[in-house]
């Protein structure tokens, strides 16, 4: 038995999620006294530095990039685990920063959920699985009588490929993949429309990853879910996403539909990332040069932050930051070389 969805009539063409010029900075200064003695200013790390994108209903939008580029921070900002320093997050037409009442916040919060990378850390080891999955149902008060909740938990467990009897067990009795299934069941408990999935399979072996990715696709087909899918694995992103945003040091450098991005990457960083994908079928692929490492985000290079690693760098790149602009191929890229047509 399903709960009533309680969704107000959606605006048909508007994106389900709109993120506009989102920024988040963390203070990384030394303690106050050291700062005074060593005459150092306060220091900030711009984890997310002006990110904008939209996600349509039923779509999978992926964020991809190397460690520390700000993917998880974007995810946590959207679900409200971090507070934005600047920018807007609009869900189904409502600005999440402008919600009027606690009741309204609750109504919106129920409609999106997050799944984390580490299925071990995100489950309370002392609770039985049935209690873990029932918790969000109780918090949002959508079902109140115990029998109904138990039936719903059984239904959720079945939906993610476990059995209702598994509800009596504790998390440690399950393998990594099964624990991620439990996390998914918990995330689905209140019939959300939108799931933020932060590296949901990065901690799993590939064969288990395949099980979870297949499950996520089945659930999307069945329930019409919308995904923000975060991963550093480009082949996984290609397999899962409809559209992809590539991040580098807190910014989006390229956004395109998945096929275009992988077949016709425009931004020099995207091209470099694609060159790192192992040629697993050993069909002999061209090798672009991969060089350098992501710089320290506390002191990012001036201008285009990719310029120390870029084969197309010129003087303008060293001083002026490029903006995300539409390219001739109809996607978005932030690169002077593309804008100037010198590729």
């Amino acid at each position: 038995m399903n709960m009533p969805a309680q969704t107000p009539a959606p605006v048909p063409d508007a994106p389900l999620l709109l993120v506009e010029d989102l920024k988040c900075r963390f203070e990384v200064s030394k303690p106050f006294l050291n700062r005074v003695i060593e005459r150092e200013p306060r220091r900030w790390l711009k984890a997310v530095d002006g990110v904008s994108f939209t996600i349509d209903r039923g779509e999978t939008f992926a964020l991809v990039g190397e460690s520390g580029c700000g993917k998880s921070t974007v995810a946590r900002l959207i679900v409200g685990l971090y507070e934005a320093s600047d920018g807007r997050i609009v869900f189904d037409g409502r600005d999440l920063g402008q919600l009027q009442s606690e009741a309204e916040r609750q109504r919106i919060r129920r409609r999106f959920q997050m799944i984390f990378q580490d299925p071990f850390a995100s489950l309370n080891p002392r609770w039985r699985v049935e209690r873990i999955i029932a918790e969000p149902i109780r918090v949002f008060g959508l079902l109140n009588d115990d029998a109904a909740i138990r039936a719903r938990v059984g239904e959720l467990l079945t939906q993610v490929g476990l059995s209702p009897a598994d509800g009596r067990k504790f998390p440690h009795e399950f393998s990594g993949g099964q624990r991620q299934r439990i996390c998914i069941a918990r995330a689905l408990a209140n019939n959300p429309e939108f799931l933020v999935c932060d590296e949901p399979t990065s901690a799993l072996d590939v064969s288990v990853q395949a099980q979870i990715l297949n499950l996520m696709q089945d659930l999307q087909d069945e329930l019409g879910l919308t995904y923000l899918f975060i991963s550093h694995d480009l082949a996984v992103v290609r397999h899962m996403a409809d559209r992809v945003g590539v991040m580098y040091l807190g910014r989006l450098v390229e956004v395109a539909d998945s096929r275009t991005l992988f077949e016709n990457p425009q931004h020099p960083y995207t091209r470099m990332l694609l060159a790192t994908i192992p040629d697993i079928k050993m069909e002999g692929k061209r090798h672009e040069i991969v060089r350098g490492e992501v710089p320290n985000p506390i002191t990012p290079p001036p201008g285009c932050t990719f310029h120390p690693r870029c084969p197309l760098v010129n003087d303008r790149c060293r001083s002026e930051a490029p903006h995300l602009l539409p390219t001739a191929r109809g996607h978005l890229a932030a690169c002077h070389a593309i804008e100037e047509g010198r590729q």
Partner: protein, 311 residues
């Protein structure tokens, strides 16, 4: 009686030969067999990839070869031959010599191999001095050369820096320099790129490949990532539940896997350009050591299993 050395040209002693290796862990509830009847060879200058899910037994196999198996784990049967000589029976002291000089190790986390209190130059220099008969100045010069060889910019300055002053990728380069300084015949690299970013991983793999070619060093490359194997290895051994499921030239295993487990594994990996709607799914999970089924360890998950597989 010695079993025949398969996958190896006859008449050529392989650099490393692992024969019928069995590793056991005695526990209160009985003996766990973590590695069961594993045999393979590595030729001089060859890169053997060792791939499998976590818990398949890759690291244990590596540890057994270099004599670093933690008790109560023990080699219960089989042998490890280096250049035809058994090394699994050597006393600890002699094994330690082999470990520094003829076989070296690279681990996943570069910090486990580096001492945070010493400059990288001092660590490399000391290792060179223990293994080679040269003076301090020459050793330092060699250390700088090695740092240059593994792609550290401005090595003559970086040689005096401490590990924490390097990025993760740079640290792994330093560890590789450290592993190379005794000019070993075999390097056992256990998940050397797992902790690194993809762009750094690609560079480290290229580096390992180039160095092994230049120095004619053999490598046992342990990883859970088939992509890394495809890029770097000559042959690959696929492990499952403490056993070898399949071993062969990389191209053959990747393009025409024979074992149903390897076939499932290859199908479960998303591949660019393949445009499959659904990934191949191997249902279930690798069994725990105390519940390995009789017969072929993979049989309960295998779509092709028949009566003989179960006994």
């Amino acid at each position: 009686m010695k079993p025949p050395a398969h996958n190896q040209p006859a008449g050529n002693t392989p650099l490393l030969s692992v024969r019928n290796l069995r590793i056991e862990f005695p526990t209160r509830r009985g003996t766990l067999v973590a590695i069961d009847d594993v045999s393979f060879d590595i030729a001089r200058g060859e890169v053997l990839g060792m791939v499998g899910e976590s818990g398949a037994g890759k690291s244990l196999t590596g540890a057994a070869i270099i004599g670093l198996l933690e008790p109560p784990g023990r080699i219960a049967a089989g042998e490890v031959l280096l250049d035809g000589e058994p090394i699994h029976t050597l006393p600890a002291e002699r094994m330690r010599k082999i470990r520094g000089r003829r076989i070296s190790m690279i681990f996943q986390d570069p910090l486990t191999s580096l001492n945070p209190l010493y400059t990288v130059g001092r660590q490399i220099t000391e290792t060179i001095l223990t293994h080679r008969d040269i003076g301090e100045a020459a050793a330092r010069k060699r250390a700088i050369e090695l740092l240059a060889e593994v792609g550290i910019p401005a090595p003559d300055q970086r040689v005096d820096h401490y590990p924490h002053q390097f990025s993760g990728g740079m640290r792994q380069r330093v560890v590789i320099a450290l592993a190379l300084c005794a000019e070993p015949e075999l390097i056992i690299a256990d998940e050397p790129t797992t902790a690194l970013d993809v762009s750094v991983q690609a560079q480290i793999i290229d580096l390992l490949k180039r160095l092994c070619r230049d120095h004619h060093t053999a490598v046992m490359l342990v990883t859970h990532d088939m992509g890394v194997i495809a890029e770097a290895a000559d042959r690959v051994a696929v492990m499952y539940a403490g056993r070898l499921a399949e071993i062969g030239p990389v191209r053959a295993v990747v393009q025409q896997p024979q074992h149903p487990y390897t076939r499932g594994l290859m199908g479960s990996i998303p591949v660019l350009g393949a445009d499959v709607h659904r990934l191949v799914q191997i249902d279930g999970a690798m069994p725990r050591l105390n519940a390995i089924p009789p017969g072929c360890a993979f049989n309960p998950r295998c779509t092709e299993a028949f009566a003989r597989c179960r006994s």
